[in-house]
């Protein structure tokens, strides 16, 4: 197996010629104090004296150990001059943007704390500060990078205000919503936020991460990171099921949703299961006018990383065909330890037309990129 991988020539000359869109790039602050200049004095004081208070079990540590220092960073991404991986633009250009001819890097900063922060006013202030930081520190210095609008999903008014504030600013291309909220995302309490995204022309990126305080799996808290990692697809399955079943896509048919960092090979079997049960249980959900899989194909897009690597590599092609080649967008997850390299992520050759869609055209359309 490996010899084929080790010896094969990079398969990307063509797609890097086109310029690829990377749908998951993580910028970091050099130090947490980098956000201070974007916070009011009131929240700077709060941050210094009280600090962040997560809904998860730990205040200053992730729930699970990661593979490497810095909460799971690529070991060769620590800037030689100091600072956190992903905090140095020159290094990000060298290792990602220039290395792979990335025409657009969709930023997914993990700083706004989404639904994590118990003090929702502080959460909203942090989200606004992190959005200003993205736009001024990153987008203005490197126009290839596109900013996420981070919001606090448990503070509806502030979230909508933040979305409306960024509308029309072409540095911002998507609204980032944490996949693990206090309730499943399709619940009506979140509809005003989802409506604001669609009304302002922003697609939603559901990037894995954060904690709501609920166990990360349906079976309770995992013991190991190895056990936690496969809970990411579980949380995506719960999201897709909730959005479809609650009727969100009937209510907001033009809502566009990208699932980021959950892989994608699980999506066909979820569609089969939902469709099968729809035939028997649709009296309970009469608001659904189409098969669940039809809503999935209409409103849901997926990103590739961390890509599944089946023993028979060609099986990934059948999976992509079910999902639809026009629904799959490439992502690296730079600079995290489990990032994918566009030249080697797929262990099979993708037909040229589909390759262009997956590495570029789908994301250009989805994110409405110039």
């Amino acid at each position: 197996m490996n010899i084929a991988v080790a010896d094969r020539q990079p398969d990307t000359a063509r797609q890097t010629d086109l310029g690829i869109v990377d749908c998951d790039v993580h910028p970091y602050t050099k130090t947490p104090a980098d956000l201070d200049q974007f916070l009011s004095e009131r929240w700077r004081k709060h941050r210094a004296s009280i600090g962040a208070r997560s809904r998860g079990p730990f205040a200053n540590a992730p729930n699970y150990p990661r593979m490497s220092p810095g909460v799971g960073m690529r070991m060769d991404a620590w800037p030689p001059g100091g600072g956190h991986p992903g905090s140095d633009l020159a290094m990000m250009r060298e290792q990602l943007l220039d290395a792979f001819n990335v025409s657009h890097g969709m930023m997914m900063p993990l700083l706004g704390r989404g639904g994590d922060e118990r003090n929702v006013e502080f959460g909203a202030a942090l989200a606004t500060a992190a959005n200003d930081w993205e736009a001024q520190v990153w987008c203005d210095a490197e126009p290839r990078l596109k900013a996420a609008i981070q919001i606090t999903t448990e503070y509806t008014e502030a979230a909508i205000k933040e979305i409306e504030k960024r509308a029309g600013d072409r540095r911002f291309t998507h609204v980032m919503i944490p996949p693990r909220g206090l309730e499943p995302l399709g619940r009506r309490r979140y509809w005003p936020i989802l409506e604001a995204c669609a009304a302002n022309g922003f697609p939603i990126a559901l990037h894995l991460g954060g904690t709501s305080g609920h166990p990360s799996t349906g079976g309770g808290w995992p013991s190991f990171y190895h056990e936690e990692h496969p809970s990411y697809p579980q949380s995506k399955e719960a999201l897709v099921t909730s959005l479809v079943t609650e009727g969100v896509f009937e209510h907001i048919p033009n809502l566009r949703v990208a699932l980021v960092e959950g892989g994608f090979a699980w999506l066909p079997s979820l569609g089969w299961r939902l469709d099968k049960h729809y035939l028997r249980l649709r009296d309970e959900v009469p608001h659904l006018k189409m098969l669940p899989s039809e809503y999935i194909r209409q409103n849901i897009w997926v990103t590739t990383q961390p890509i599944e690597e089946p023993e028979r590599p060609e099986d990934i092609l059948a999976t992509c065909e079910w999902i639809g080649w026009d629904r799959i967008m490439f992502s690296t997850d730079y600079p995290h330890w489990d990032q994918d390299d566009p030249r080697y992520a797929f262990k099979v050759r993708i037909p040229e037309k589909e390759k262009q869609m997956l590495f570029r055209d789908n994301a250009v359309a989805f994110y409405n990129l110039d």
């Binding site: 197996m1 490996n2 010899i3 991988v5 080790a6 990079p10 593979m67 490497s68 690529r74 070991m75 060769d76 330890w337 489990d338 990032q339 994918d340 390299d341 030249r343 080697y344 992520a345």
Partner: protein, 137 residues
């Protein structure tokens, strides 16, 4: 196969790795308790600079609750996805038969012999009274 002088003996400390470019290829040369090994600086999984990874012991368990560390300093963990390789053979821990990082023979050669050739000493200055680390590829 040409023989390339990549370091003076003693230049690479035990437990350390020197990354050299030989015939256009980046190669990591490792000193494990004064034995030398060379691996290509490219992970067979997704192409990361493998030799920048951490050098570790082998960590094994026969059953839950029992653990042992062995082969200290002989395993290399890729800086990206953490795939582990035996530095002495290039074999991966999970798929030793099928997943390998390319390895190259390393010998220690006295400067005197080097003077006779045929060796390529592109970057290392060679003196007849010293010994050198030589990689073949």
């Amino acid at each position: 196969m040409a023989k390339h002088v990549v370091a003076a003996l003693g230049e690479i400390a035990p437990g350390a790795c020197k990354i050299v470019t030989v015939a256009g290829r980046e190669i990591g040369v490792f000193n494990i308790r004064d034995e030398y090994f060379a691996l290509i600086n490219r992970c067979p999984h997704e192409g990361a600079a493998l030799c920048l990874g951490a050098i570790m012991p082998r960590f094994e368990s026969d059953r839950p609750g029992e653990y042992r560390l062995s082969h200290h300093g002989e395993m290399l963990r890729c800086p990206w996805h953490g795939w582990e390789f035996d530095i002495k053979t290039g074999e991966s821990w999970c798929h030793p038969e099928s997943v390998k990082a390319r390895s190259y023979p390393v010998t220690i050669v006295p400067g005197e012999a080097l003077a006779k050739g045929p060796f390529v000493a592109e970057t290392v200055k060679v003196a007849v009274d010293a010994n050198y680390v030589v990689v073949e590829l």
